[in-house]
Each structure stands twice: as C-alpha cells, then as structure tokens.
C-alpha cells in the first residue's frame, strides 16, 4: 500500500484532480478536507503520511491555511506538506517554504508536477516509491490534465 494522504482544498473539482494524480502514483487518499480547520482535525485523527494543502480556503473557526499548516506541523514536525495554489506569488511561496513545506506547486497540475513530489517523498519514505503503479497500463484519463 502507498502513502496515506490527506487532501485539503475547498474545491471538490480540484480535490478530484489531486486524488486522480496521487492515486496514479500509488498513493492512498484517506481523507479530504474543505478548509483548514477540517484539515487539522482530520490530520489529528488519521495521522496521514503526507498532506496537500491549498492556501486559499475559507477561514473556519479562525483557522486559515497557514494556521492549519502550523497546527499540523506542531502535531508532527516531520510530516511532509505540499502547498498548492493558483497564484504563484513569490512571497507566499517563500512563507510556506520557510515554514518547512515540502514543495509549492501551482495549478493547473500536470503529471510532472506530481512526479517531482513523488521524488521528494521518496527521499523521506524510501519504500513508498516502490509502490507506484505508473509503470503499469492505465485506464484512459478521465481528467483532461
């Protein structure tokens, strides 16, 4: 079984796309969150191996994406968190990278976006990279990206 992933994004459309890419790489999406507060709660409950976090989500219970990021990191400083965003602001990118994000990817995604992430995760979880089904024939992509 691949890495267990929590996907946090307020867009069901984008969560669907991220799930699609991650599952192609052999990861298991164990939960989806639509805001930072949900993401933090789900992280505490499920303790996934890896988190993807959108940075523009509705603030719920006073928790925005950065607060959720810090909350998750306070639970486990080693957990890799991938930041996803539609807006490639350098300052925002720097903020999250300085806080310890695994990487920062800009929407729209493509296959190579997640290939790069898999490589980075392979350094953290060496056995995980061996579980990718990518080398096997795939069904035709439902998603256009």
């Amino acid at each position: 079984m691949g890495l267990r992933v929590l996907v946090a994004d307020d867009s069901l459309f984008i969560r669907d796309i991220i799930r699609h890419h991650l599952e192609r790489l052999g990861f298991q999406v164990v939960a989806e969150a639509a805001n930072g507060a949900q993401a933090l709660n789900l992280y505490k409950t499920l303790k996934p191996d890896f988190v993807t976090l959108d940075i523009i989500m509705p603030q719920v219970d006073g928790i925005d994406a950065l607060a959720a990021f810090r909350g998750i990191k306070s639970e486990n400083p080693e957990v890799p968190i991938l930041i996803v965003s539609a807006v490639p602001f350098d300052k925002t990118r720097d903020t999250f990278m300085n806080e310890g994000a695994l990487d920062y990817v800009t929407k729209p995604f493509n296959k190579s976006s997640f290939e790069r992430i898999r490589s980075k995760l392979g350094a953290i979880y060496p056995t995980a990279a061996e579980h990718s089904p990518e080398s096997q024939p795939q069904d035709s992509d439902r998603r256009p990206q």
């Binding site: 965003s85 350098d90 929407k107």
Partner: protein, 194 residues
C-alpha cells in the same frame, strides 16, 4: 475616458500574463487557446464599462477582490450560453451536455477563474498595487448592466481586458482585471482631466 494610454507601461506585462493565462486554460481544457484581443484602458466611471466591455448581454462572471495598496477586482466572464460548454470541457467532454449548471460545475468555474487569473495577479498585481491574497471567487449570473458595477473596485480604474478563445469549442472567455487608480502613483502619472 481619462488618462494616457496605459499600453506602454503595462502592455508587456499584460501580454505575458495573457500568454500564461491562455497556456493555463489550454492545459485545463486540453485544447488550443487563442488570444483574440487584449486591451488596456482607463475608466472614469463604472458605467463606462457597459459601452467598453465587449461581452454578450447575458453572462456569468467569477470575481475575486484583492486589497493591496489599491483595491482591485479580477473576473473571468463568459456568455451564459458558453457555461455548459466550459463545464463539459472541464470534465473532459466535448460539447454542452446540459444547460443546467450544478454545484460541481460552479466549483469548477471558480477554480478555473483562480487558475486563469493567477498569472495576472502574479505578474501585473505588483505593478498595479494589488499584492494581497485574492478573496474566494464569487459567481454571479446576470445581464452586463446588472453585473458591471461588481466588476470594478471603485469609480476610477485601470482595466486590462483579454479575450481567450477555444476555437474548436466555440468558447470565448474574458478576463477583466480592474485596479483602482486613486493612489499617488497613478495620480502623479495621470494627466490633467480635460
């Protein structure tokens, strides 16, 4: 209309942003996207948008607000008739399967707007004083005269208008970025009103 033509100062950035936006949209739709038109202009009142903006009468807009040194708005607009085509395209289908739009369609439109307008915010935003994090996108459907006021942040604005076309789908989307121009930088650059 007031002020000098803004193409010289902001035109190159607007062109680059539009090029990147068309690439992003093309990636989302898995289709070739053409830039049909790009124009920059000043508005001295929101009502001017009604005569300036080249859009069909009934449309859907997805708008985000940005607050930096200036107030700004950035919108993705499309004809109401084009919305089912876009929805189908985003789901990887060709043609419009239904005229009725569901929550998932609207969610997909919001993310499309986020993605397409991202290049404008990152490239043009700092030059126009719009450096904040954009708000959650809001979807509005109506006639242009009902919606126009929601597309501009204040009475006077610098507008960037880009028309992106997917010829194979007969789909045209319009990006409108409107930056308030009350700050000292713009006032200093603005010639006297005649």
């Amino acid at each position: 209309m007031i002020g000098a033509e803004p193409e010289e100062e902001f035109g190159p950035l607007a062109s680059l942003a539009t090029s990147r936006a068309s690439e992003s949209l093309g990636s989302l739709l898995c289709d070739k996207i053409d830039v049909k038109a790009l124009s920059l202009y000043y508005l001295d009142s929101p009502e001017r948008l009604l005569t300036r903006l080249r859009l069909p009468r009934r449309l859907i807009t997805i708008t985000q607000s940005i607050n930096g040194r200036e107030k700004g708005k950035i919108s993705l607009a499309m004809p109401r008739d084009g919305a089912p085509i876009l929805a189908a395209a985003l789901m990887g289908r060709h043609g419009a399967h239904s005229r009725k739009l569901g929550g998932f369609d609207l969610d997909a439109f919001k993310e499309t707007a986020n993605i397409v307008t991202g290049s404008y915010l990152s490239l043009l935003g700092p030059a126009l004083g719009l450096i904040g994090v954009p708000s959650i996108p809001a979807v509005v459907e109506g006639t242009l005269d009902e919606i126009a006021l929601s597309l501009v942040p204040q009475s006077r604005a610098l507008c960037v208008e880009a028309h992106l076309v997917a010829p194979s789908r007969g789909l045209e989307l319009v990006v409108l970025m409107a930056a308030g121009r009350e700050c000292s930088k713009f006032q200093a650059e603005e010639p006297a009103v005649s």
